[in-house]
């Protein structure tokens, strides 16, 4: 099915199942520990051995020699694989990083070898006996130092144009009566998902099956095929459950590659999991940025010039952190300039992490708006409302499909009690705590893309959905089940959802906030086909056939749904594809974040006291799972604001705090109260589902809202994340 014109009324609009707060279908499996993750498939392949990855001990240089004699002789060792055994492997298509070092080492903890043994403990012990000697060469690890070498990169597949210009930014900024020119920095961040990267690889002849933890399975199979030099068709990836990814498990990473190589060398299935300390430097992360923002405005708060430049670094061939993405779309303003610059850094690869670019850029832009509002003596909400736009500011002929940013801000202001805010910083106290409130807008693209599904109906009326979509803890199983239930007029208890197998029809997987909208639309298309097949099997006219309450109805005739499959199971498969609506309309999701913080008068510890998000994100397929996505994202935003920083050791060239004791993410005690309001929205330009993603929107702007609240509490403007107490010490007026 090709979706080319805005959707009309369709079965989804009934919202008998869709739009209802169904609990997660797989919830009981997870709470009872019976949902198997990649490393936990104990029976799926016979007699698995264990691989342990050895990471490079240097950041840049060459492997001079690998002495494997002691390791080889260690108890239980079955195989050792290095680049000397398998040659240099190319990178896959999505990641630039080579997943096996040798002879060159490109970054710290890049995989140098995998040691395979009968048990995990034997493999780890033997790995420690592998003697690798290196020739170290000088690397670049400091973004500030490398900034001047950064270039404007070519436009990549994601992230949009690296440079945009509308009108005369420089002239308008110079002439603006009120100006803001400030530089902000965001640090490297890691995804810190619960489940580590893990794979069990099993070869049968030239066919490879991997139980793994990969968000986009068909990218994974494609990239693994490229890296190993085997046809993608020979690879089957299974990721039925994923313990979090946040963009850090997009496609093939070293666990997948090293497990595959290890299993081939050992002639047995092999399990490989990266250890927690390896994940930080071996896999990908959200890259640090330096961002300069210049805003020019009239005295009454109309933006006349918007300039946003961002610098980031990466391995050669790596992507740019597209921190200017939101700035292109969020506010009106006749004269505009955005630019991304990319330097070479010899750290692990920078790549996608939840709302890549947008979360990063909005950490800066939404502080800048707060600063400008103060200069204008305006309420920061009023400033944002004044500069709202209903068209793409860079292409005014292109309207937003739906955009209720103003309503998000106003609804949130009412609910949060924004009118009680005291604009003068440092004015409000509660015991030993200085209290402040902050606000930020949120915007996140709503991409939707080709997605396929297969739907089966059996004689008992059970509907089974199959697609290679993944559920990374988001609720994919549930919303896909709800879609099929709605389409076929049955309850959710009559639907079985099978996900996470690359042998199933292709979806775009989980990422880019496209998964929910895309995969349910693919299921919609397949269900339409199944409805036709049901009508046909029952001898009914498809156009007149209704599906409700487990019954198929046409005129006065009625059948149980399963009757259609009495003779044989009915199977329908279809792919939803798209026309040009995304070009005609700017399709985005919007929100507003409100945060109250307390800053301890003496220690300057910062604690969030309450948070509110208002979201406008298309049809909400399931308010319970949507809310869970948003509160999780808000939590991540608190981490970005106050805690999270991969600290670069600029001498050695690596992320030093590479475990969860050193890299702090919020714990329960950091998150006291969160509220989410989901505004009604049906976007017929998206798909028949009229839905958009929401999982990344919930993060965008949160950190800036926290930063603005800290300013309101203390009068200290911190422009360098994370906002830690040492950045406030000595600056807070305690009188």
């Amino acid at each position: 099915m090709k979706f080319e014109t805005p959707a009309g009324i369709n079965p989804i609009d009934q919202q008998k199942v869709i739009g209802q707060p169904a609990s997660r279908l797989e919830g009981p499996l997870k709470t009872t520990g019976t949902a198997p993750y990649a490393y936990e498939y104990h029976q799926a392949a016979p007699n698995p051995a264990y691989g342990y990855v050895v990471g490079a001990a240097i950041a840049k240089g060459q492997i001079r020699r690998i002495d494997r004699r002691k390791a080889q002789a260690a108890p239980g060792v079955l195989a050792i694989v290095t680049a000397a055994d398998v040659g240099q492997l190319p990178p896959g298509k999505f990641y630039a990083d080579r997943l096996l070092a040798g002879p060159a080492v490109d970054h710290y903890h890049q995989a140098v070898a995998v040691v395979v043994a009968e048990t995990f403990e034997q493999a780890r012990a033997a790995a420690a006996l592998l003697k690798v000697t290196y020739t170290q060469t000088k690397g670049a690890f400091d973004l500030t130092a490398a900034k001047d070498t950064a270039i404007v990169p070519k436009q990549g597949e994601f992230g949009g144009a690296p440079q945009t210009k509308v009108g005369d930014f420089e002239g308008a900024f110079a002439a603006a009566p009120v100006q803001l020119d400030a530089t902000y920095t965001t640090p490297d961040q890691t995804h810190a998902m619960m489940e580590p990267h893990a794979t069990m690889a099993h070869w049968q002849g030239d066919k490879l099956t991997c139980w793994c933890s990969v968000q986009q399975l068909n990218w994974g199979a494609r990239d693994l095929g490229t890296i190993l030099g085997i046809p993608q068709e020979n690879i089957r990836l299974i990721s039925a459950y994923i313990g979090g990814g946040f963009g850090g498990k997009g496609t093939a990473l070293s666990d997948l590659v090293m497990a595959s190589l290890a299993a081939r060398a050992a002639g047995r299935p092999v399990k490989v999991a990266l250890t927690r300390p390896q994940i930080f430097n071996n896999t990908t992360h959200r890259p640090a940025t330096i961002q300069r923002i210049r805003l020019g405005a009239t005295p009454d708060g109309i933006l006349t010039a918007i300039g946003h430049e961002s610098w980031s670094g990466n391995l050669p061939g790596g992507r740019t952190e597209a921190a200017t993405a939101s700035t292109k779309l969020l506010y009106a303003g006749a004269n505009r300039f955005t630019e991304l610059r990319l330097a070479v850094l010899n750290l692990a690869e920078g790549n996608a992490m939840r709302a890549p670019g947008e979360a990063t850029g909005m950490m800066a832009l939404e502080i800048a708006m707060d600063e400008l509002a103060e200069k204008l003596h305006m309420d920061p909400i009023a400033l944002r409302i004044k500069n709202d736009t209903q068209v793409d500011p860079e292409k005014p002929e292109r309207p937003f499909s739906t955009r209720k940013l103003v309503e998000c801000l106003q609804t949130g202001a009412d609910r949060f009690g924004w009118s009680k805010r005291v604009a003068t910083p440092g004015s409000v106290r509660d015991g030993q705590w200085l209290i402040g409130v902050g606000v930020a807008a949120a915007i996140r693209g709503a991409p939707i893309t080709t997605s396929a599904a297969r739907v089966r109906l059996n004689r008992d009326g059970i509907v089974t959905v199959e697609t290679d979509m993944t559920d990374i803890g988001t609720g994919s199983y549930t919303i896909i089940g709800q879609t099929a239930a709605e389409m076929l007029g049955v309850g959710l208890d009559r639907v079985v959802v099978k996900l996470g197998d690359s042998a199933f029809p292709q979806s775009p997987g989980s990422g880019g906030q496209w998964g929910a909208a895309s995969s349910t639309s693919g299921v919609y298309a397949a269900c339409l086909k199944l409805r036709e097949a049901v009508a046909k099997a029952l001898g009914l006219n498809p156009a007149e056939t209704q599906f409700a309450n487990g019954q198929v109805l046409a005129g006065k005739r009625s059948y149980a749904l399963g009757d259609a499959a009495k003779a044989a199971e009915l199977v329908a498969e279809d792919t939803m594809t798209y026309g040009t609506l995304a070009k005609q309309y700017a399709q985005d999701t919007f929100g507003a974040h409100f945060v109250e913080v307390g800053v301890h008068r003496y220690t300057h510890e910062i604690r969030v006291r309450r948070m509110l998000a208002v979201c406008h994100a298309g049809r909400i397929l399931n308010p319970k799972t949507a809310r869970s996505q948003v509160i999780g994202a808000m939590t991540m935003g608190v981490g970005a604001a106050l805690l999270e920083e991969l600290v670069v050791d600029k001498q050695v060239g690596f992320f030093v705090n590479h475990d969860l004791a050193g890299y702090e993410v919020p714990v329960h005690a950091d998150i006291p109260h969160q509220e989410v309001i989901l505004l009604e929205d049906l976007d017929p330009t998206m798909s028949p589902m009229k839905a958009k993603g929401i999982g990344e929107l919930g993060l965008v702007g949160v950190a800036a809202a926290v930063a603005n609240a800290v300013y309101n509490a203390t009068g200290v403007r911190v422009r360098h994340y994370p906002i830690t107490l040492d950045k406030l010490l000595g600056k807070v007026n305690l009188t």
């Binding site: 003496y602 220690t603 705090n657 005690a669 994370p722």
Partner: protein, 316 residues
């Protein structure tokens, strides 16, 4: 993990004797730190002596009117023990400010005292670390040092001792009771228990080889207001940036030990005479001679502010 042999002993004296018998052995109690370090091959004992069943899990009154805390009393049991909560509130609060419920259920009193530093360079075996590999150098001093020590450190090591419990015990004038391999026992004041790193940061206490901690002795209660204020970036489950353990009397005198600044709980008794004068005067004396790095110099002001907060709270 390096392969090791294992034995379980029944009495403290047996433990010390077993250690004397087998070179390269380590005592295992709760294992919350040792096992992690063994997996990373930072600790590589050839032999493990499991002391988990030797008793030593009681908290008893002493004839002097204090408490004798068995070496194997868990952090949870110690924090919840009624006389501890009543008479040594500082200790209970410090314990509850540390780790998580799960860890406190396993971690023991002696193990807590002997836990190793959390310096990230100590934990990464590819990096230089004089504490882990004597003579290899220190990557932390010119590296990431925000968490690390500002006083009592040396040019060989700036690691801190991570314990909260030990800070309270230092303020409480605790003593460490031990047994040696030859069966003799002694009590070491906690003030003398830890060594400063100097050029030998791998030697962290004055315990002799094979000497086993059997108990911690608390002197009789001293009254006063007990406050443990731990300062950290996140609200729970984090090591202290700095912490202040204080016992403040009605007349403004008191004792203060500080965590997160030094290779041991940091207390300067002579500085305490300045407590009635205020936080600034006291802290200046307490941290006299501090040698912070650029990244952790904020700890000096943070200690002063936190002492001010504690004194303020004690007054109210």
């Amino acid at each position: 993990m390096k392969t090791f042999t294992y034995e379980r002993v029944r009495t403290p004296a047996e433990a010390a004797a077993a250690a004397a018998r087998t070179p390269g052995s380590k005592f295992l109690a709760g294992g919350t730190n040792l096992l992690d370090l063994m997996k990373l091959e930072i600790e590589t004992p050839a032999h493990i002596i499991d002391v988990g069943k030797v008793g030593l899990d009681k908290i008893e009154p002493t004839p002097a009117g204090g408490l004798r805390i068995g070496a194997l009393v868990t952090n949870t049991d110690l924090a919840n023990h009624l006389p501890v909560r009543r008479d040594y509130g500082l200790l209970s609060r410090a314990l509850l400010a540390g780790a998580t419920g799960q860890l406190r259920n396993k971690a023991t009193t002696a193990g807590n005292l002997l836990q190793r530093t959390r310096c990230p360079y100590f934990y990464d075996t590819n990096q230089r670390c004089n504490k882990r590999v004597p003579g290899s150098g220190c990557a932390a001093i010119a590296g990431f040092s925000r968490q690390l020590g500002v006083i009592g450190t040396s040019n060989a090591c700036i690691a801190t001792h991570p314990s909260d419990m030990a800070v309270a015990m230092r303020a409480l004038d605790a003593g460490v009771e031990t047994v040696k391999a030859n069966g003799t026992t002694r009590t070491i004041p906690l003030a003398q228990f830890y060594r400063l790193p100097g050029q030998t940061p791998h030697l962290e206490t004055i315990l002799e080889k094979n000497e086993l901690i059997t108990a911690v002795l608390l002197p009789p209660p001293v009254g006063g207001v007990h406050i443990y204020q731990k300062v950290r970036d996140r609200a729970s489950y984090a090591f202290a940036l700095i912490s202040v353990g204080a016992i403040v009397q009605k007349d403004g005198t008191g004792r203060i030990a500080v965590g997160g600044v030094a290779p041991q709980p940091w207390r300067v008794e002579t500085a305490e005479q300045l407590l009635p004068a205020g936080a600034k005067e006291f802290t200046a004396q307490l941290l006299q001679g501090a040698r912070p790095t650029k990244e952790n110099a904020f700890k000096l002001a943070l200690v002063e502010n936190t002492v001010a907060a504690v004194l303020n709270e004690a007054r109210h």
